[in-house]
């Protein structure tokens, strides 16, 4: 864990967090924060696409299947825990659960930085898994919500202003989310563009990537700490869930990465991070639109204020150690 804390990205996260906790007047320009997100998604996608172009087809299919399985099963597991253990109402449970089926790109990138700084090799399929996991999670969230609303509400409420099915529209939203488009689009560019032309853009998307990531984590630290004030509203059970769920997910991810995919220690660590982390990109807007009755304060606090910092500080080095232990 010490080595993790000595990466600039993680240190910057701590500084951002700290600045907010001591109520510094440090401000992060909104459009810079949004620009960093766009850049990182494009950078990771491009990288993934270039790797995919030289990837082995069979292994890629395996990774996609694993991603779909994780994306569908993790939210169901989360839902059961929230409903039966936490007695959280059905709609809030659905919305929160969906987040845990998906992935936090920031956590994933921090894990990449963690591995790269230590020169630990890793497979690149997890990048493709990252792109795939948003959509199933959203679909499960929608189905859970539909299921909990019951049949009569469907008739009254399920037709949008334009007259056609709201469910269809929401599904469409799940696949046309801006972040998913950026990620898939950049993967496509990485696959299609000629190597000579890619080389021209890499100083931007690759050369300065790790530095930009560290700036992004400064902002995420502030963002996480801002959510602490909401802990009381969210309640102790949910905060605890935000720590327990990544541990459960991480363990499942380790097993999937090791046994099902047969990845190296680095690759297993990344799969664990995929399973352990909670989306703050594509799932929240989808849930806001699809389950407006759920309180965004709950799922955003859990995803950004609890699970994200937990994974960045404690989770990543822990999953890595467990991956080493599995491999031994």
């Amino acid at each position: 864990m010490i080595s993790n804390l000595l990466i600039p990205a993680v240190l910057f996260f701590v500084i951002g967090f700290f600045a907010q906790v001591i109520r510094s007047d440090l401000k992060f320009p909104a459009d810079l924060a949004k620009a960093l997100s766009i850049y990182l998604l494009l950078g990771i996608g491009l990288h993934g696409g270039m790797e995919l172009a030289k990837a082995d087809f069979g292994s890629a299919v395996d990774a996609v299947v694993a991603a779909l399985a994780l994306g569908f099963l993790m939210p169901l597991l989360a839902y059961v825990i929230l409903r039966w253990l936490g007695r959280i109402d059905a709609l809030n449970s659905s919305a929160i659960a969906a987040h845990y089926g998906s992935v936090s790109a920031g956590t994933f990138l921090t894990a990449l930085a963690f591995l790269e700084v230590q020169n630990i090799e890793h497979e690149t399929y997890p990048i493709i898994m990252l792109a795939i996991m948003e959509s199933p999670a959203i679909i499960i969230g929608l189905l859970l919500a539909k299921f909990s609303r019951g049949p009569q509400v469907q008739n009254g409420n399920d037709t949008g202003a334009k007259g056609h099915s709201v469910m269809g529209e929401l599904l469409r939203d799940a696949f046309t989310n801006g972040s998913v488009i950026l990620l898939l689009g950049a993967i496509l560019v990485g696959v299609l563009a000629t190597p000579a032309s890619l080389k021209k853009v890499l100083p931007f998307y690759d050369g300065i990537f790790m530095g930009v990531l560290s700036l992004f984590l400064l902002e995420m630290g502030m963002e996480a700490a801002k959510r602490i004030g909401e802990f009381r509203k969210v309640g102790i059970f949910l905060v605890g869930f935000g720590i327990a769920m990544p541990l459960i997910g991480g363990t499942i991810g380790l097993l999937v990465g090791h046994s099902m995919l047969g990845f190296s220690v680095g690759g297993v660590t990344l799969v664990a991070v995929l399973a352990a982390s909670a989306s703050y990109i594509a799932v929240p807007p989808a849930m806001r639109l699809a389950i407006p009755e759920a309180n965004p304060s709950f799922y955003l606090t859990l995803s950004l204020g609890v699970t994200f910092p937990f994974n960045v500080i404690f989770g990543i080095p822990l999953y890595y150690e467990m991956a080493q232990w599995l491999a031994a």
């Binding site: 502030m222 963002e223 801002k226």
Partner: protein, 108 residues
């Protein structure tokens, strides 16, 4: 003195995700236009610091003539009834538009 027309100013504070629905509404109801400003804030549904697409608000402005007012408000209420958090502020307003000050026919 210039001629002013009495209209209604509808201001909607909502999560940024709702922007496209509000634009659609304004088109469906043939409102002459709309104006959007990025915002942040806090309320019952939590803080919206405005740093990510997922935690930003917008301030959506529509100026509507009294005749269109009720149907627009009804549409907004419908969105709210689906569960969406938003705040709708209504006020009376005097408007100076180009067509009221330009005597000759404008070219557009």
């Amino acid at each position: 003195m210039v001629k002013l027309v009495s209209e209604k100013l509808i201001r909607i504070i909502a999560a940024a995700e709702l922007e496209s629905q509000l634009v659609d509404l304004s088109k469906r109801r043939s409102v002459s236009g709309y104006t959007v400003v990025d915002a942040r804030g806090a309320g019952a549904s939590g803080i919206q610091p405005g740093l990510m697409d997922i935690d930003s608000n917008i301030l959506f402005l529509m100026v509507v003539p009294p005749g269109q007012f009720d149907e627009v408000m009804e549409d907004l209420a419908k969105i709210m009834r689906r569960g969406h958090h938003m705040m709708v502020l209504v006020s009376d307003i005097e408007v100076m538009r180009r067509k009221n000050v330009v005597t000759d026919k404008p070219s557009v």
